[in-house]
Symmetry: C2
Subunit: 413 residues, 2 copies
Amino acid sequence: MQSWLDIPQNSDFSIYNLPYGIFSYGKKKPRAGVAIGNFIIDLKRAYKKGLLEGIKIPKKIFDAPVLNDYIRLGKSVHRAVRERLQEQLQDPTSLLFRYQHKLLVPMEDATMHLPVAIGDYTDFYSSEEHATNVGKMFRGEANALMPNWKHLPVAYHGRASSIVVSGTPIRRPMGQYRPNDNEPPVFGPSQMVDFELEVAFIISRDTELGERIPANHAEDYIFGLVLFNDWSARDLQKWEYVPLGPFLGKNFGSSMSPWIVTLDALEPFRTQGPVQNPPVLPYLQTEGAHAFDIHLEVAIIPQATTQETVVCRSNFKYLYWNMAQQLAHHTVNGCNVRVGDVMASGTISGPAPDSFGSMLELTWNGKNPILLQDGSVRTAINDYDEVVMRGYCQKDYMRVGFGEVRTLLLPAE
Amino acid sequence: MQSWLDIPQNSDFSIYNLPYGIFSYGKKKPRAGVAIGNFIIDLKRAYKKGLLEGIKIPKKIFDAPVLNDYIRLGKSVHRAVRERLQEQLQDPTSLLFRYQHKLLVPMEDATMHLPVAIGDYTDFYSSEEHATNVGKMFRGEANALMPNWKHLPVAYHGRASSIVVSGTPIRRPMGQYRPNDNEPPVFGPSQMVDFELEVAFIISRDTELGERIPANHAEDYIFGLVLFNDWSARDLQKWEYVPLGPFLGKNFGSSMSPWIVTLDALEPFRTQGPVQNPPVLPYLQTEGAHAFDIHLEVAIIPQATTQETVVCRSNFKYLYWNMAQQLAHHTVNGCNVRVGDVMASGTISGPAPDSFGSMLELTWNGKNPILLQDGSVRTAINDYDEVVMRGYCQKDYMRVGFGEVRTLLLPAE
């Protein structure tokens, strides 16, 4: 597909992508948009100009400061919009071409916002390499993976209120930790703030309490994916998490990328996930390919430099449990989901040591500090470090990317 | 205080209480109301009739199907409304008296709804007796309490979407459990569905991400309290919960009572909580009394009988950690809270064996089945059992109660 619009060849936001986000510009209120090259299509204005005529979209859907009501319209609408925009982007006689100065907003003029109102946030733990690494460090080689791990996609509930969009700084959390196991805990700024490289999916359909989503239909309930940095304070988490799981070690903030890449855009990059052995219970069995080949990387940019160091290169396809299985499991007990819910993958580590998705693993619990381009070393994230996660799919000429999730860590206050 | 309205002497909803809820009747849409005796004051109509004149309440606040915007108005408004209603209930020349046939809806004609839109739900674990009982059963006497337990109010995030109001049936969850530790897990209906007797508080003020709520101001952020049944599937939970905590064992449903009893109404029942030893860190220290003397009980009503058996009598004041400490801890890392958030206490067990707040503890993991009035025995909740929780405060003539949270357990489907 060729567009009359100048789309840089390496752009994450090619005509094959068309991800959704919420943006504002000038004095305009936040509204829905679609990313294309270095521009954002203002969907509110596009709708008014008749660009989407014939597609069943109620008035004012694109005025909302979140995408939930648009997402709720369903995949047939999303597909029709996607096709329409692709047509308009190719046709030099289209309305989009004619009104481009009104409808296309340069990204550099826009501020991005959280794209959805999030009801509940669930965090899975679906990377075998990550779970094994953590297990080895804290429980030893023999008991690295818990007995339940290969039977169900382990998960816990996280905090929805503290999920923020890329660009929002996060403050180093205060809290309790115990430097010495034989002494009482102390209170102060966390000494071990870490990132976790994750990808999250956004729910597109409500279910009723008591309803189950079958694994082979689960993707119908997924609107799209974002990059997700599940910030973690390792010292707080270590002291607090027994027996009910992570709490203050996680809920001081999680960062997500602003553009939701739809499953339709990711379709060409579908691939087989790892073989599951032992076989999973019937309700978790899926047919076909349910993994996606998404290249992921994490970079650290220290204060007072623009020099970044890529510390991790991983891939979404490494995950042992796929999204369909995660969602089937989440609802097998009748737990209901709602449009806008966020379900994150858990840290995505690969087999190679430079593919581990957290500083905890990359430095092997601090034993192997990482040398950055500016000569400084890290075992955790420093104040004023910026952490940037990026993700993209590439197949020949076709590129579908996520942009980035970028977060500055501020000192404790 | 004497009212012209006939309020039964043992009513939970005395003139000293005036709790808030959301109700509907006839073909009317859900709206805000205040319980008094066997009636509900329709706040939407009361506002229109000028009953609340002079109090700063924006129009349409009482039209909303949830209380969040009313709660957000702040304690000064809530207090003014409370005093105004108490005046009107005492004065036989008042507007409320004059329009009583329009403004007072018989409870028996009303349907209650979830009173707030819940952003996030947190469940604490603040009863020393409960944590000790569970610890003894699963880890033995010596390691009953975890090392962190007396240093911080342990908590985890729960699922907000599956919180339902009293009267909503809950379905027995399906899921994985492992009957034999040496064999693979099986899939089927949970064999051990249990209640957990809890009390939850509702947040009344938003905070910003990065903001901390000091313990001695924490009650300013609490609107009021409800009874809370944190339904638990013990077998699912046992298999899934390591290492990240409870998930499907809890999120198939939690039930709350429909009336939010304000902290102002509970003020006369304030009392000292347990002595905390070792001393807690400064950010968790509170001055004065922060416990509340609320009698609690749980009854089971088997199918095909109206005969109930009270299986547990406990008290909110037994909790080791008070609400101010819980909220100070929750936000000490900068985690933000939002109006309508629900924070539950965790199972409230007392010192006596008949005060334990779950079947797990009451039957000591099934070893001592409970005999019900109808001659049947229980180690867990059966299909079509109704579980009823009640709570009230009493001091001389003054009674402030919560009503009940009542839930029917339906069979797995």
